[in-house]
Subunit: 311 residues, 2 copies
């Protein structure tokens, strides 16, 4: 299921994305007691895997839809990704952002020609702003994670990772809205045998963990985490995919996230976001389970404010 | 001249080093107005290009010399590189370090099984300590930069870069003791046509710049720079190579170094040392000269203390 879809998504977006490198570190392997292969989506265009899903969604719009533009709500990586993908494809992008969003993030979107629409920092205001743009401009709404085309686009990262490393026994990704992990599950089912997908989630934003437990979508009780990208709500399209295909979700503390992030910076010499470090933190937390295994990790992004590092 | 030597050095050290990736960033290219190709030696073993020269020097020792070990004085990247290269090759490494060296740096050497000998933080004490080890253990002294085998080993980074990017018109490196830039000049002469080598140096440690002006080796007047790795004295073996083969040395301010470093971290998403950023800072300082050119840059290393970032 979906094998052809991922292959087609990959062909579709290839001209617009990087086949990002896979890095590893002997020292991290020694510390963890396993062989880790980091798929560096922090090197992806706009600094995050989101470019894959954004491009895959926009390319498939009709000519008429493209002429009317796309709209999303995001103050994070999807805002930048949709802006750049739209720019490259000659489409107008409207980005709804809470007016409390930092200038750094707004400027990143402006850099890619995204049109920012500010709204009050509430769910209702955000949805109303999106609706207005849809009505006024006829723009197509593209959800940052809960959209099958976005999910399939994200899955192409795993296809590349599995082509680079054929013997993976696990792939671990962070879990926010669930788009990345759902795409990873789909791609792993299609292109690997005997490879399990595991999610990492902060204790402080563990909606997906609790949703798996209860069997229905739960909301975050808190979002007090350094992993900005994982504060979002698990999506209804992604949940059934995750429920069916994930081995488990491992929750990690803020301290574990920051310490894993530091390890990546110091040993791999790459800049990753706190959200990306959640996957490594999960592996370190349950070291015994992963002993001597070959493990792929998706480093989801590298967009950090160097003036506000958590260490 | 030296072509065979670089090829042989490369064959010799290949099993012990990484062929590090070459990265680029559309946004940095846009800012600079040229095409930049970053050879990421921060991803090299021990986090710096020094591994190349260290390995090339140790491998060529006789069996008897290897049995007696190697000694160097360094508190920086060469200390780690010699320790690891020696460890891999089954050779004992003695590392003379001023006792004022930070624990972080000492621990890095210990991690690679280097034997630290502490001395007073003066040139005389350092030389005496080295002499003692040479006499007592019969160890062979390997200078961190002023040694032809070390220089030829460093040159292999440029050979790889030129194999990856055939159209380079410039290669820019930082200049400290001169080992990297001398190796780069030799390799560029051998493996490129019409490619010029340019050095970047902090105003605060501009011994090489002034040496080129006066025609004899000058000392640093100050070493008040964030670029730790470039505080060292230009070497007598490297100077004639540099003098003959370099196009020019561009000096940069501390502010320019830090701002270039930030650009690399934010845009390339990699962790590099201040010393590495000196090369990019030099290009940005003389933007007009480099307009629309294809330029290789050696990112010399990525060993930074995350608790003491300059930004």
């Amino acid at each position: 299921m979906y094998k052809e879809d991922i292959i087609k998504a990959h062909q579709r977006i290839k001209p617009y994305i990087h086949n990002t490198p896979v890095l590893s570190s002997n020292l991290i392997n020694k510390i963890v007691g396993a062989k880790l292969y980091f798929k560096c989506e922090n090197f992806q265009k706009t600094g995050a895997f989101k470019m894959r899903g954004a491009a895959n969604a926009i390319i498939q719009l009709t000519k008429e839809e493209k002429a009317r533009g796309v709209v999303t709500h995001s103050s994070g990586n999807f805002a930048q990704a949709l802006s750049l993908a739209a720019k490259i494809l000659g489409v107008k992008a409207y980005i709804v952002m809470p007016k409390t969003t930092s200038e750094v993030k707004k400027n990143a979107v402006r850099e890619y020609n995204g049109n920012i629409i500010e709204c009050e920092p509430t769910l209702l205001a955000r949805e109303n702003s999106v609706k207005k743009i849809q009505e006024k401009e006829g723009a197509t709404f593209i959800h940052p994670s809960n959209d099958l085309n976005v999910v399939l686009g994200h899955g192409t990262a795993t296809r590349e990772l599995l082509a680079n490393q054929v013997n993976l026994e696990y792939i671990v990704t962070p879990v926010g809205g669930g788009g990345l992990v759902a795409g990873t599950i789909i791609a792993t089912t299609c292109f690997a045998k005997d490879c399990k997908v595991i999610g990492g989630e902060p204790f402080e934003a563990d909606d997906a963990f609790r949703s798996l437990q209860s069997g229905k979508i739960e909301s975050n009780k808190s979002i007090n985490t350094v992993a900005e990208g994982l504060k979002t709500q698990l999506g209804s399209i992604n949940f059934p995919i995750i429920r069916r295909g994930i081995e488990k979700i491992i929750r990690v503390s803020e301290k574990e996230i920051i310490s894993a992030m530091r390890l990546v910076w110091e040993r791999l010499k790459i800049v990753c976001e706190p959200s990306s470090a959640v996957a490594l933190a999960a592996i370190i937390r349950e070291k015994e389970k992963f002993k001597n295994k070959n493990i792929g990790i998706i480093i989801s992004g590298g967009n950090v404010d160097l003036d506000k590092l958590p260490f």
